[in-house]
Subunit: 356 residues, 2 copies
């Protein structure tokens, strides 16, 4: 059994409440006894039971970080930032990854709350969870901040990045390079048609008169989890897919991927099909993972202000906790377009031709 304040009290022949006070530097207890108690506590390796403390205080100094997956580089990076920022403010953060499905997500969220977290950071939107479901089921008694690429269509505290603006930059860039046949390769799940990427794509396709946006958006093959817990896009499958795609869309001169991972794979697959990047086709992506700067060619991307977002989220959260409210607030952060080498002037040939 772990030692409790009672053990210390008994040993020193004082009451447990004196021990409790002494341990938290309450000045009402004589400095002499205070010292004695602290020494004894140290000697007995006393560690306060945080469950008990949380129960009586109604506060746990613990923040929950809820996310569908911790596997994505950008998610884990975000978690680190949030964790460090919170630690500075005296809070611990516990990450809970839920696989993105509704049931586990809700379960974990409830658990977090039931475990008495003082606040909640909900990262991302979840596959197969609609906005309506989020609104209905993601109302927690503890202050909550949502962070994602999506402006949630209900009042809540949230900080998101302006992905649509990023898309605008991309389209502007590509258009300036002469591209008129720009396709979007989406790895995103259904049910969130309102994704700003889509909106941005629609808007700009219209603005530059690039044809029917709906026909330009294509869904990438599903990814899956391998036995090592890694989310994998099967290379073979993607190869077949992109081959078919280019055969039926030979006018394509630029591909905009919503996932940098898919973009990176494209960079490696296309040359094998006899398609050069960027000479034949330009590739660009949303999301700046580190691999993007050592790919061949280096990938042009929309960089997301993850660090700022998470620090802001933490600020919002702490504010909510201090003032014991949960009043809606929306912060939208600008993205930054990083031009590297995967985007170039449009090719002269109208149609692309694959090897053999």
């Amino acid at each position: 059994m772990a030692t409790t304040i009672y053990d210390i009290a008994r040993e020193l022949d004082v009451s447990h409440s004196t021990v409790s006070r002494a341990l938290r530097d309450n000045p009402t207890v004589a400095s002499a006894t205070r010292r004695r108690i602290k020494e004894q506590a140290l000697k007995m390796r006393y560690k306060p039971n945080l469950l008990a403390r949380g129960l009586v205080n109604g506060k746990t100094q613990m923040i929950g970080f809820l996310t569908g997956s911790i596997y994505l580089e950008m998610v884990s990076a975000a978690a680190m930032v949030a964790s460090n920022a919170l630690r500075k403010a005296g809070y611990d953060m516990q990450i809970t990854a839920t696989e993105g499905r509704f049931k586990p997500t809700q379960h974990c969220a409830n658990d977090l709350v039931a475990r008495g977290v003082d606040g909640l950071i909900v990262r991302g939107v979840f596959p197969n969870i609609t906005a309506e479901q989020m609104q209905e089921h993601f109302q927690f008694p503890a202050p909550t901040v949502f962070t994602s690429a999506v402006q949630l269509p209900f009042p809540c505290r949230q900080v998101c990045h302006d992905e649509a603006a990023g898309v605008t930059e991309i389209m502007e860039h590509l258009y300036g390079l002469g591209h008129r046949h720009i396709y979007m390769l989406s790895g995103l799940w259904e049910g969130w048609k309102k994704y700003p990427v889509f909106q941005g794509f629609y808007k700009n396709t219209a603005k530059y008169n690039l044809g029917n946006a709906r026909e330009k958006i294509h869904k990438a093959p599903e990814s899956f989890f391998d036995e090592n817990g890694r989310r994998i896009y099967d290379t073979e499958v993607l190869t077949v897919w992109i081959k078919k795609f280019l055969q039926s869309h030979p006018d394509c001169t630029a591909i905009f991927c919503t996932s940098p991972k898919i973009a990176l794979m494209l960079l490696s697959i296309l040359p094998r099909l006899g398609v050069r990047v960027p000479e034949d086709i330009s590739v660009v992506s949303s999301g700046d993972i580190t691999g993007a700067s050592c790919s061949h060619p280096q990938l042009s991307v929309v960089s997301l202000p993850l660090g700022k977002m998470m620090r802001t989220a933490v600020e919002l959260l702490l504010d909510g906790i201090e003032n014991d409210d949960n009043k809606p607030a929306k912060v939208i952060m600008p993205t930054k377009f990083i031009i590297r080498q995967s985007t170039e002037k449009v090719r002269s040939k109208a149609r692309i031709k694959l090897k053999n």
Copy 2:
């Protein structure tokens, strides 16, 4: 305030203990009342207070996952596997990332225990924490399983992968391709000289008579965290570093990286220095991150059995929890060498020459 069993009891004019029993399907309570109570609980959106439950039960159904960083792809993947395995067994898992330094790590570990976790998975060894410190400070009252590349030099439950064997495979492979000047580029911190990678490298360098191993091992430039929480190896710095290295070691025909990320960067830097991979220099790494299969050329790697390791760790942990013991156990898992395209027959020229 959240609703408690007392609230339900009052509403239904029964005692709170009846409610407590009913809610956990205790057959001693009349099925009629049981239904009434459950309905009422649902209606009042009752959620059990897990702090209180944990306090009285001495069990929380919660496992802590302690790691220096969650940022590495392999760590987050491992976390997902463990989390899912634990969930199946009825446990929740909370991840705590500590930045790898001693103080926060110890703090977080104590916190986890103080919060009443039923068990602990400690992933990796920690920068700047020696084996002695680990032995002294990582003795927790709750069952603990360590997972890492290192066999901890003290009795504990642990599952590690046999990295040395992986190195052996690499060296065998390279030697077979004619390489006699194999260098190791290590991204690992000091203080853990006992890393099996080193041992494996020493052993095989001796075995194949490849010269003084100590002179073959070189430390890569330090990485740092950028504002977005990503661990970055600065490309410029690494470029300068590798340039200098090759100038002073022109005999080098193969580089073995302990970090796949560095290897990937090398793949992109070397060509810019006029060095072709694998024609001029072979590159190989320990750790199979997904980017390794879409690099140019694809990277030969030692693949770690992360999934199996984590599932085994979970098994060990659950065993420890069930039997309420913490008796030492050591599981060592074999790695798998994946030959891709970054390793080839040794070049004919004795010395490498950089562009300009």
